[in-house]
């Protein structure tokens, strides 16, 4: 079954696999995530489950949020997120999802917010080559021509220019689960994951599976 969990990026490390190779892993603390609400097509227009994550003091929630978690009879949470489902789900409000729903070797997707880089030029932001550094060049890290002249008379939409870089939602698909440590709510994923340490990430079963070769 497709499931998703909210979690926190702890950091990166390495572990040895069974062939004695050193595998780079990202450690993510995922769950436990209580089901706060179940939405259905009849009442809400679409099917989804709403998960909570992260302990929060009750007085830090607004009255509306507090009423929402009290209705579901779950502890106050700091984050709420909806995940679309395909209609009937065996989950009930108040059920708690944990990392033991994932297993080692499984493919997953990670959704996170990439690190913010601030306002950056085109060399860092898009990998432009820039100009020569010396010999009186006077054209160092600029992006070249912005387009043609009187026709079309404007810069073409989507032209790569300097601007804000990073701090956007990014999804990394088909990462491999190396290990699940259920008693500590930890999940070890091969490779890197967007975002800084402590950043909120979503762990879900991979939506695009590689087709098996016939």
């Amino acid at each position: 079954m497709n499931i998703a969990l909210l979690g926190k990026k702890i950091g990166m490390s390495q572990v040895f696999d069974e062939d004695n190779r050193l595998v780079p892993v990202t450690v993510i603390e995922a769950g436990p995530c209580p089901v706060v609400q179940i939405k259905s097509a009849d009442t809400d227009g679409y099917d989804a489950i709403q998960l909570g994550y992260g302990a929060q003091k009750a007085h830090r929630l607004s009255k509306a949020e507090l009423g929402h978690v009290n209705k579901a009879k779950v502890e106050p949470v700091s984050n709420l997120q909806e995940f679309r489902t395909s209609g009937d789900t065996e989950l009930n409000v108040g059920d708690v999802l944990t990392v033991d729903r994932f297993e080692a070797g499984q493919k997953i997707d990670i959704i996170g917010t990439s690190k913010g880089r601030g306002f950056q030029g085109v060399v860092k932001r898009y990998g432009f080559a820039g100009g020569p550094a010396s010999h009186g060049s006077m054209f160092h890290r600029r992006g070249g021509s912005y387009g043609m002249c009187q026709w079309p008379g404007h810069v073409i939409k989507g032209k790569k220019m300097p601007g804000h870089m990073g701090d956007v939602q990014r999804t990394v698909q088909n990462l491999e689960v190396v290990k699940v440590i259920a008693d500590k709510n930890l999940i070890l994923i091969k490779g890197s994951v967007p975002g800084s340490k402590g950043g909120l990430v979503t762990v879900r079963t991979a939506v695009k599976q590689k087709r098996a070769h016939a």
Binding site: I10, G11, S13, Q14, V15, L22, V27, I181, K184
Partner: protein, 122 residues
């Protein structure tokens, strides 16, 4: 906080018999090599010229001269593929990393200032 979690989950993979050799030591690294379904031990002798990193990511570099060509191998210190690290000889080093060994040729390439482990009888 987050580092302590990582330390804890990698703790059981750390080997406690890997702390005795240091930079400058002549060592024989006994490596488990898998061939088909059999494993055999391959020995890589040489001088430890660097040891860096910490925790599970700690590594060391062994340099030797094999048939006239300098060969360096980098091993993870806590690798399960390493059966054991034998220490042949110890030496006195003035550097944390002995990268100057790479510039040495001929007889000097294998020479390190040896630590006298016992007083020589006159």
């Amino acid at each position: 906080m987050s580092q302590s979690i990582i330390d804890e989950i990698t703790k059981d993979q750390l080997k406690d018999d890997r702390s005795d050799f240091k930079v400058g030591d002549g060592v024989r690294v006994h490596l488990k090599v898998k061939e088909g379904d059999k494993t055999r031990i391959q020995v890589f002798p040489g001088i430890v010229i660097a040891r860096k990193g910490s925790g599970i990511g700690e590594s060391f570099t062994v340099r030797r001269i094999a048939s006239g060509v300098g060969v360096e191998k980098v091993f993870p210190v806590h690798s399960p593929a390493i059966e054991k690290v034998e220490i042949d000889r110890e030496s006195i080093t003035m550097r944390a990393r002995m990268y100057y060994m790479r510039d040495r040729i001929g007889k000097a390439a294998n020479q390190v200032k040896e630590k006298r482990l016992f007083e020589r009888r006159s």
